[in-house]
Structures are given as structure tokens and as C-alpha cells.
């Protein structure tokens, strides 16, 4: 009787240790992502009591940045601001208008070995005027934090990871253009740039993911994980999102998003109805796991790993 009781107590004790460590970790990802999307799209407030109706004006974008800084520091990544000025799209407009002014937010997760290379993960944090921007693009940000949660736990990172949240994507990719120039000016050794824009809609329920303009050396990594996780992927060459800025600057890039060019994207994009309750969180989690696995591979293996194996 005493022995049974002791075994029972031991089991309770082990369960008590196991659940907070492993059970909590298993649930962290989706809870965190829901929190992030909820705050950024004005579904709920955080400690600062701000209710973000949109992320468009300078004040709204500043509040969003402060929130993202908090999450970065939570994950032990020091947040840094990249302030920039950019000329107008047409030179004639320079006479009439002031330059664009904005702030990108970035942070570095260093490699464990001496490495000059940086894998860049980026998503824009602004939204269209008056739009909560839950799918576009609070989901892209939530994806990055989901990936980051996994990357910080990897003990053999062979490349640095730079995460960046772009300003003013909705105004003709101004923030990412400025950041690409910043990388060139500061002579960062960029391995590849991965951008995430709209990953919260799956109308036909097939879980399909679009890979935008992938550089050939990146594709095997994504395809391998897609095959392993049974995720349908396809390649698109068009698209007007942040990876275009880096493509123009000559970097190896890939864009990850819902099946936009096949028409399976949020119909609420750029409307006041792009709200928290329209987000498909299980799709977001699935894509996050896919990207996490791919980036983990990328920062722990050689570039030709899948070609030579």
C-alpha cells in the first residue's frame, strides 16, 4: 500500500516538473502568436493600455515598435532602431514633398561559431490607413517570433540571424528599400533574405504556401521541409512585397506567404475588416513550423547540403 502511494506521489511529482517545462513549451507558439496578432490588430491591449486600431500614422507605428521591442527583449534579442529618410518615388515630387521618414526595427541572434554570415528574416509592421492589418501583416510578425522561439533554443547555430520589422511597406516598400541600402552601406555579409507577408488565410483549406522569387540555393531547403511536413508549396515570380527590395539589391531572397497569386488570400486585405477573428491560426502555426524547420536547417547545415546528399 505504502509502495503504491510512493509510486503515485512520484508520478505526480514528475508530472509537476514535466508539464511546466515541456507542456508549456508545446503550447507557447500558438499562444504567443495569438497574443501578438491580437495586440497589433487592436483586438486587445497590453500593459501599455494602447488599443491599436491601425499601424499607419507615426504615433501608431511607434507604439507597435515598442511592443515588438518588448517581445524581442523577451527572447534575448537586443532591439535596435534603423531611422531612415528616403526620396519620393518620382524625382519631380521631391520639389513638392518632404522625403519619406520611417524606422525599421531589427535585432541579431548571434551564431555560436565565428561566422560573418547573416540570414535575414523580415516582415513589415505597418498597415494601410484605417486597417487593423491582422493578416496583413501581424501574421508575418507572429511567424517571425514563432521561428525565433525555436532558433534561440538551437545550440549549434553556424550563421547569425538578423530579424527585422520593416516600416512603410504599404507605401511602396520604402522601409525595406532603406534597409537593403543600410545592409550594403554597413557591409553586412548577407547569406539570404526571407520575408513573410500575409500568412493567415487558407480559404480552400489545402494549406498551400507560396514561395516568392526563391533564389536557387534556397529552394532545396524549403522543398525538403515541405516534403517532410507534407505542405504543398509552389513558386511565384511576381508579387509586390519586401523581398523585391532585396532582389533589386542583388541578395539571395525568398518570400513566404499564403497562396496570393492563386487567389487564395485574405479578401479583407487593406480593409477595416482585416481583423483578429479573420486569422486562421492553425494555418499560421503550420507555416511557422515549416519555416522554423527550414531556417533551422539553413543555419546549421552547409548551403549545398541537400544537393550533395
Amino acid at each position: 500500500m505504502l509502495r503504491t502511494l510512493l509510486i503515485f506521489l512520484l508520478l505526480v511529482f514528475l508530472l509537476g516538473i514535466w508539464y511546466p517545462i515541456f507542456g508549456q513549451q508545446a503550447q507557447d507558439l500558438s499562444f504567443t502568436q495569438q497574443d501578438i496578432v491580437a495586440y497589433l490588430s487592436g483586438e486587445k491591449t497590453a500593459n501599455d493600455r494602447h488599443l491599436l486600431k491601425a499601424r499607419t500614422t507615426a504615433a501608431e507605428r511607434r507604439i507597435a515598435r515598442l511592443y515588438l521591442q518588448g517581445w524581442m527583449e523577451e527572447l534575448q534579442v537586443k532591439a535596435q532602431e534603423h531611422d531612415y529618410l528616403q526620396p519620393n518615388l518620382h524625382p519631380a515630387m521631391d520639389f513638392l514633398l518632404a522625403p519619406y521618414r520611417g524606422t525599421n526595427l531589427y535585432g541579431i541572434l548571434p551564431a555560436h561559431t565565428e561566422s560573418p554570415e547573416y540570414v535575414i528574416l523580415g516582415a513589415h509592421y505597418d498597415s494601410k490607413l484605417g486597417c487593423p492589418g491582422a493578416v496583413d501583416n501581424a501574421t508575418g510578425i507572429a511567424l517571425i517570433f514563432g521561428v525565433l522561439q525555436k532558433l534561440v533554443r538551437i545550440e549549434q547555430r553556424r550563421k547569425n540571424v538578423l530579424i527585422v520589422f520593416f516600416d512603410q511597406e504599404e507605401e511602396e516598400l520604402i522601409g525595406s528599400t532603406a534597409f537593403a541600402q543600410f545592409l550594403q552601406r554597413e557591409e553586412y555579409d548577407v547569406h539570404s533574405v526571407h520575408t513573410f507577408d500575409m500568412v493567415g488565410w487558407d480559404g480552400d483549406g489545402n494549406g498551400e504556401v507560396e514561395l516568392g522569387a526563391p533564389s536557387p540555393f534556397l529552394l532545396p531547403f524549403y522543398e525538403k521541409q515541405a516534403e517532410r511536413l507534407n505542405i504543398p508549396v509552389y513558386i511565384s515570380r511576381g508579387g509586390s512585397t519586401d523581398y523585391q527590395s532585396f532582389l533589386k539589391a542583388g541578395y539571395g531572397v525568398i518570400g513566404v506567404n499564403e497562396a496570393v497569386s492563386k487567389g487564395d488570400f485574405s479578401p479583407y486585405k487593406d480593409t477595416p475588416e482585416d481583423t483578429y477573428d479573420r486569422v486562421n491560426f492553425s494555418y499560421l502555426k503550420q507555416v511557422t513550423n515549416f519555416v522554423s524547420a527550414t531556417i533551422s536547417d539553413l543555419i546549421t547545415k552547409e548551403d549545398d547540403y541537400y544537393e550533395s546528399n
Binding site: A58, L85, N88, D94, A98
Partner: protein, 128 residues
């Protein structure tokens, strides 16, 4: 012994207008030049250097440049004021453009109209 008093010299509003407008545009020109755009810098250089040169070499050229600069300032202020008025009736969703026409931006437009008028009605006494 009587003291001779001289009247205070009149304030040269045209010269003040010219200076303020040139400083504003030089700042704008340098900002854009640092961003790789040199059109505004070219325009301001032509006006400023032309005024300096012509001050002692040709009153006709000097007055022509002043009048041209005045017209340019008026045209700039007028175009922006008209756009600001239009945007009251037809709001646009482009945040960058609409932010350029907030109250500070509109103040610049009106100030440009006033400065342009001051520079345009200048005479040969005005110097830079």
C-alpha cells in the same frame, strides 16, 4: 548744440524674404542631395551663384533672377495650397502625401506665397 538725428533705415523685407527662402531651399536641397537626388541642389545653386555674380556684374540679370525666384516661390506655395484645398474635398489614402499637408506643411505653403511676393516686388537695393 543741436543734435542731428537720422531716420532709421527702412527694413529691407525683400532681402529678409530672399534669405529665408534661400535657407529653406538650401536645407531641402542638401537633404535630397544626401539621398542621391541633385535636381533641387542644382536649381538652388544656379539661383544663389547667379545672384552673387550678378550683384556686381549685371543689374538686369540680378533682377531677372530675383523675379524668377519670386515666381518660383509663389508657384510652389500656390500649387501646394491648391492641393491642400483639393484634399479637403477629396481625401486620399496615401499617408505620406497627406502628412505633407498637415498644418505645418500648409504653413510652409502660405509662407512661401508671402516670401515669393516679397522677393518678386524687390528692387535693386536688395542684396544677399
Amino acid at each position: 548744440m543741436s543734435q542731428i538725428s537720422y531716420p532709421a533705415p527702412p527694413i529691407n523685407w525683400s532681402a529678409i524674404g530672399l534669405w529665408i527662402s534661400l535657407l529653406f531651399w538650401i536645407k531641402k536641397a542638401v537633404t535630397y542631395a544626401l539621398l542621391g537626388r541633385f535636381w533641387i541642389l542644382g536649381l538652388v545653386m544656379i539661383i544663389a551663384l547667379g545672384l552673387i555674380y550678378s550683384q556686381n556684374h549685371g543689374q538686369k540679370l540680378y533682377r531677372f533672377l530675383l523675379k524668377s525666384w519670386g515666381i518660383y516661390l509663389i508657384a510652389w506655395g500656390l500649387a501646394r495650397t491648391l492641393l491642400a484645398v483639393l484634399m479637403q474635398f477629396f481625401p486620399i489614402s496615401d499617408l505620406h502625401v497627406s502628412q505633407n499637408f498637415n498644418w505645418v506643411g500648409n504653413l510652409y505653403s502660405v509662407a512661401s506665397l508671402v516670401l515669393g511676393f516679397l522677393v518678386f516686388r524687390t528692387d535693386r537695393r536688395s542684396t544677399i
